[in-house]
Amino acid sequence: MWAFLGSDCMFFGTLIATYLVYYGKSLSGPLPIDVFSIPVTTVSTFVLLMSSMSMVLSYAALTRGRMKAFRIWLAATIVLGATFLAFQVFEFYEFANHEVVVSCDDDPTKWTDLEASLAAGCLTGAAGDEVSVRGFREVEYHAGGEHGPEIEGVYGLTPRTNLFGTTFFSLTGFHGAHVTLGVIWLLSLFFFSFKKGGVTPKKNLDLDLAALYWHFVDVVWIVIFTVVYLFGVFEGF
């Protein structure tokens, strides 16, 4: 198992290296700062870290022979893992269908590049019209918005959009696949534990290995969260 994890380190190492090599090399937006929502991802990161804790508690309960506590904590781990995956699905969907609203009268220096490129539509827009701005879908111009004239549009970050999309979705997608595999594995152990002699306090190697894998996937996520999300949004990194 340790050999496998070493191998997996190289796997993620290569993906992260590819991401970093191409970091800031995208020729067009959207960029990390345009799409990431740090609060949302912080919550999902917290969920995943808590799942590691419940995993530890589950294993501890098993080795002490408390089968009920073992199953409860194992189920909690599975639920938390699935929650993390739900967050990721939501996030991917959100990135692919991201709505931006710009108030045309705002100070242009405060806009991000992406907002500025949408605001270019302010000049051509007429009330209620569909306007075309490169890279955006469903662009609409409202002359009488809440704060004066507004323009809104949807842009999508997909794996094809730019280098950021390509590397981001590959890296986080493979991590998501690892979590999915982990959930299936734990789920199998959960059901298997009801079979007589399936998982017992003495026969705990299966759970031990699954736990090792689970913690590894968590640690990788901490690296991804730091390198991709935090470095991508906060200046000075």
Binding site: A3, S7, M10, Y22, F192
Partner: protein
């Protein structure tokens, strides 16, 4: 799902566990490391012959100027498949054949740590080999060279299926190699007989261990690179899309970060074989055991620091080039240490020039030539002149054919009596060695000159005024000699296997544990697990006169002797089913995603069935 699959093998009577299979079914469900080793060896040797035929076609096309036996397109496919086949389908699995057959025998174990995983490795390797070679019949083989530089592989420049077969085939082979490597690492760490400490481990086992670690660390890198390429081709992503800011140099880095350790993956097992053969036929212990092991480990470590010497002409800048030039020169030191150790092993030995010994000495000579031209490449400025010329072809063939394959031939002759229980024909073997030795030098040495005279690699023909005709004709003649030698080898092996003279347990008066048991070894290997007291334990036991008395032993299994009561895992077909699922899934990835899903489902179900299958059926406890 999970609980249902518990009984899946009982529900399908067709898939009932074969408890005592015979004939072809026995081979298909076997999880005996020796049988798997033989399967690996035979399959890989067939692939070696396939790659050889491709080589002969290439050389025939180049026999003289302006020939058109094959078209330029087919030529591209030929050299791509020749390289890919020889590296991934011939040399690596031939080494794997030795790992499988020998490692448990050398460390005094009954089998590898995960016998069913071992079977899975073989069937998956076979699946990968089939996928790669199917491409010939399904719209053209890959044609981008064995390192398939981007953007030549992008769907814009290469719309055919060839690169897809290459990508998917290598991914499947990667799975096989990774599974096998985990298996051997765990086996060597955990399954050694009592007393078999790390400093008593046979050299071949040591080199296997280092190779397995290299594989485990190097293959994920190529896996990711292949995934990136596949995503680019299948989903229009941008990893190597220059228009979106991607850079083809990334492919080169990723490929060679894998590719250079891969070179040592190919050569270290051969070095291990030679380190077994030389002491046996010199009747001396290996000179400087610990330095040979250490040098192997250093090569394994430094192999990671030299990859950019494949990229001196990319324009990485003088600092990068200088650093990689220095590390490349430095890696010649541990290699040199080994060569001197081998020579010192022969020195003043009582040498018997049997075929394996001839091959081992040939290995030293030819590998040294390849090593010297390798050091020449480490000079970045000189390398710029040699890049992509036949000089490189000469170098790679001296290290891979003159090195790895000579080592493997030494091993095949050396362990043939152990594997088959019969002796090969010594006269034929000697003749075959000399043909092979002369043939390959005739084939590859002139390439140094055609390369320095400016002949680029991978051209499908050349003009009569270029001055390359003589050297090319010589190379082609040499290649034909190698082909004849390979045929003689096949005849010798097949004939001897069927009705060769019966071999004794220890025909070479050898040193390591596999010679302490009958030839061919019984299914359970060791009646009693030996207690190892020395390096070269079998040799010491023979010399101290203890060989005839029962070896010191610990009781294992239930009874003693005769093999009864020794618990062996039973055959299983699930590993093969998983591989079939992978095969269908892989083909689906090329053609139709729905088929891929079916293949994946088959593999998944089989994995569950495999996990819940007991190692031994309870009512068959005393089976053997």
């Amino acid at each position: 799902m999970a609980t249902e699959s518990l009984d899946i093998h009982i529900k399908f009577p067709l898939l009932k566990r074969p408890l005592h299979p015979t004939g072809i079914w026995g081979w298909m469900t076997t999880i005996d490391h020796k049988r798997i080793g033989i399967l690996y060896g035979v399959t890989a040797f067939i692939m070696f012959l396939t790659g050889g035929v491709e080589a002969l076609l290439i050389r025939t096309q180049l026999i003289g100027p302006d020939k058109d036996y094959v078209s330029a397109e087919v030529f591209n496919q030929l050299f791509t498949m020749h390289g890919t086949t020889m590296i991934f389908l011939a040399i690596m699995p031939l080494s794997a054949a030795f790992f499988n057959f020998l490692i448990p025998l050398q460390i005094g174990a009954r089998d590898v740590a995960f016998p069913r995983l071992n079977a899975f490795s073989y069937w998956t390797f076979l699946a990968g080999a089939i996928i790669l070679n199917l491409s010939w019949f399904l719209g053209g083989a890959p044609n981008t060279g064995w390192f398939s530089y981007a953007p030549l592989t992008s769907s814009v420049f290469n719309p055919g299926n060839g690169p897809d077969f290459w990508i998917i085939g290598l991914q499947v082979l990667g799975i096989a190699s990774l599974a096998a490597s985990f298996n051997f690492i765990v086996t060597i760490i955990n399954m050694r007989a009592p007393g078999m400490t790390w400093t008593r481990l046979p050299l071949f086992t040591w080199m296997t261990f280092i190779t397995a670690i290299l594989l485990v660390l190097a293959f994920p890198v190529i896996t990711v690179a292949l995934i990136e390429l596949m995503f680019d081709r299948a989903f229009g992503m941008n990893f190597f899309n220059v228009a979106a800011g991607g850079t083809p140099v990334l492919w080169q880095h990723l490929f060679w970060v894998f590719g250079h350790p891969e070179v040592y993956i190919l050569i270290l097992p051969a070095m291990g074989i030679v380190s077994e053969v030389l002491p046996t036929f010199s009747r001396k212990p290996l000179f400087g055991y610990s330095t040979v092991v250490l040098a192997g480990a250093i090569i394994g470590f430094m192999g990671w620091m030299v990859w950019s010497h494949h990229m001196f002409t990319v324009g990485l800048g003088p600092i990068a080039n200088s650093v990689f030039a220095l590390t490349t020169m430095a890696i010649a030191i541990p290699t040199g240490i080994k060569i001197f150790n081998w020579i010192a092993t022969i020195w003043k030995g009582s040498i018997s020039f049997k075929t394996p010994m001839l091959y081992a000495i040939g290995f030293i000579a030819l590998f040294t030539i390849g090593g010297i031209s390798g050091v020449m490449h480490s000079m970045a400025s000189s390398d710029a002149q040699q890049q992509d010329t036949y000089f490189i072809i000469a170098h790679i063939h001296y290290v891979l054919f003159g090195g790895a394959m000579m080592g493997i031939f030494a091993g095949m002759y050396y362990w043939f009596p152990k594997i088959t229980g019969r002796m090969y024909d010594e006269k034929m073997g000697q003749l075959q060695f000399w043909l092979m030795f002369v043939g390959q030098n005739l084939a590859f040495f002139p390439m140094h000159f055609s390369g320095l005279w400016g002949m680029p690699r991978r051209i499908y023909t050349y003009g009569p005024d270029m001055g390359w005709t003589l050297m090319n004709t010589l190379s082609t003649a040499g290649a034909y000699l190698v082909g004849i030698a390979a045929l003689i080898f096949v005849v010798n092996m097949v004939k001897s296997w069927r009705k060769g003279e019966l071999a004794s347990q220890d025909p070479w008066d050898a040193r390591t544990l596999e010679w302490s048991i009958p030839s061919p070894p019984p299914e359970y290997n060791f009646e009693e697990i030996p207690i190892v007291q020395d390096r070269d334990d079998w040799w010491e036991r023979k010399r101290s006169g203890k060989a005839k008395t029962a070896p010191a032993a610990v009781p294992v299994g239930g009874g003693s002797g005769g093999g009864h009561g020794i618990h062996l895992p039973q055959p299983s077909f699930w590993p093969m089913v998983v591989s079939i699922g992978l095969f269908i899934g892989a083909m689906g990835l090329i053609y139709n995603i729905a088929v891929a899903a079916i293949g994946g489902a088959i593999a998944l179900i089989a994995i569950y069935a495999w996990s819940f299958e007991p190692v031994n059926e309870p009512d068959e406890e005393s089976g053997h």
